[in-house]
Symmetry: C2
Subunit: 193 residues, 2 copies
């Protein structure tokens, strides 16, 4: 039986597994290679350095919800409920990550701190999706005349409590859902024509 092909995705899955097992301080490329039953040279052919591998696994983790959110952002229909759905889907995705596996979440917080460029790109993608929703709302006459990019950034900033990992400890509190609704309502009311 020929060995399974070594793809970047398989390496990243193994890297996450190794990070989960050893923690971000101790995980090495050799551990990743051992988990896959390959030489560390094989891993380096896909990711040129340990730093590159850590960056790629961070990007993969941050991007996990992109496809789902992108589908919400690009859906048909009025913009206001779509904006709310998008914010709710983002919040739900972040909460799941933080709540289902707190140790892995803490590990990724360390990686996120090391890879600010990756984080900035992720945030730019998120704000781009928001801007698309705002722009369609303006075009449909549902939102007032406003600059989609500036508004999207302001909406992102104003909803930080519900997506910024710095607030993860608050996401299991009973009052958080009412707080989310109140901020959504504040934001949507502001955009309406």
């Amino acid at each position: 039986m020929p060995p399974e092909t070594l793809t970047p995705e398989r390496i990243l899955e193994a890297t996450e597994e190794v990070l989960r097992r050893y923690g971000p301080a101790k995980a090495t490329v050799v551990d990743v290679a051992r988990t896959l039953g390959v030489s560390h040279g094989s891993v380096y052919r896909h990711f040129g350095s340990k730093a590159a591998l850590r960056e790629a696994v961070t990007e993969r983790w941050l991007d996990q919800a992109h496809a789902e959110l992108s589908a919400v952002a690009g859906a048909q229909g009025p913009a206001a409920p779509r904006l709310r759905d998008w914010l709710a889907a983002l919040f739900a995705s972040k909460r799941r990550k933080a709540g289902d596996d707190p140790e892995l979440f803490a590990t990724y917080m360390v990686l996120v701190g090391e890879n600010s460029g990756t984080v900035d790109r992720h945030i730019a993608t998120m704000i781009g999706q928001l801007a698309g929703i705002v722009e369609s709302g303006v075009r449909q006459g549902e939102f007032r005349e406003l600059d989609p990019a500036t508004t999207a950034r302001a909406v992102w900033d104003a909803t930080g409590r519900f997506h910024d990992p710095a607030y993860a400890a608050e996401w299991s509190r009973p009052e958080i859902d009412a707080a989310f609704e109140a901020v959504c309502e504040l934001v949507l009311r502001s955009l309406r024509a």
Copy 2:
């Protein structure tokens, strides 16, 4: 010459000085007493324990801007510019604390983590001041009919990037003032009748 009277305020000033010099992990009540030239028993007569002293100095630090903000909240005139002034004064106060003395700021972040009850009371006071502004705007017909307490909480949450110490590292970035303006505009637009 009679010795200067030992007041709680003098003890708290000395405590801040000791925290600044030794850091939150090493500062002791004996250090505070030595700085004041008194016995540690004299300090304990005002603050029953090291924990009580640390809590009191944290409260003092958090409350430093209360009086100034309270004056803004209670001023005469239209509510919208008052709300903006209040948010700007809060942001300016937090920025000063973080920027002028980053080491002391880091020290207080440790104390804040130890004294969540004190922090909750501080936040309740801040939201109470916001609710007062919102309520006067509703009464004057300047803001739409809304619940002042719920709205104040939502405004607090939506402006977290500009007062929550977790974001202190961003407060020196060049784009932060435009981001603050955009969120203020978003919030004010939402409240207007």
